[in-house]
Symmetry: C2
Subunit: 150 residues, 2 copies
Amino acid sequence: MTDQVQFSPTLRVWMDTFMHRSMRGWSHFAKSTGLSMPQFSILMQLHHKGPCGMSEVSERFDISAAAASQLVEKLVQGGYLERTEDPSDRRAKLLTLSAKGSELIQLGIEERYRWMDELASTLSADEQKKISEALVLLTNAAKEIENRKS
Amino acid sequence: MTDQVQFSPTLRVWMDTFMHRSMRGWSHFAKSTGLSMPQFSILMQLHHKGPCGMSEVSERFDISAAAASQLVEKLVQGGYLERTEDPSDRRAKLLTLSAKGSELIQLGIEERYRWMDELASTLSADEQKKISEALVLLTNAAKEIENRKS
DNA sequence: CTTTTTAGTTAAGTAGACTGAACTATATAC
DNA sequence: GTATATAGTTCAGTCTACTTAACTAAAAAG
């Protein structure tokens, strides 16, 4: 009961700190690459969920098919994305991150990761262990919810 | 040593899951309010760091003073922000969230919070306790780094 | 085999974010 | 007290994202 009461505010405070930090980090990084946020988000999406078609892009970002097509076109021009014909349906396209695109996202992740290393450096081994265990629980819970919905 | 090795990958996996989820959540929410991402980000910033001047906005978002002025103008027009003269320096302005702006951000936070409640619901009281403790550690570590830098 | 859906592209036009430059007003330096 | 630096605004113009509408081509339905 007490734990239930305690849990949510803690999660909240932490989330506030963390999200703010990571959002700023990503948008700063996106800017430094010369890509716009929408363009960058598409690369992130592809990194996270793997290859997909045009229609999924427009659905996920809630933009028109035309907008998706135009954004993707720019990313293909820039060499971040590969757009091939889906062999099983010749109308459809298959979007995949190119090596360049993949490296870019990886670089961004590394950068965010560096901050976490800083975090780690201020903690004792025991504290780190506690946190590791907790995060495994949280990650699994998050994934379970994700799966439950789909 | 083992903990050190274990810690970072855990943090990383967790971060990947979480950040993706929360970024999408925020941008979706921002869109639903009718505000653009840059406009919304300014409100978030103000919520997070408290009142500030124009110059801080342009610095934090790495945009020109002109751009900041225009974005803020729109938010003031929309009633999300109050822009008053700084009594200690009559050139400067003081930006504060209005009640409307504050409520909007709060609503977004609540929405994200709901997801976390879902997370909590899949966890036992004992697990929640562990996670609470861990997140307090993490939050404090994050704040310490933040302070150390400024 | 025609009809209709579905996947995506192209084009024209709107709206927002952004920049540099010119400007006002206050504060600071000498 | 003049000169300069600082805080912010306004304006004109550029770039990007986005939308609707008209289009092509392939797939699915009848």
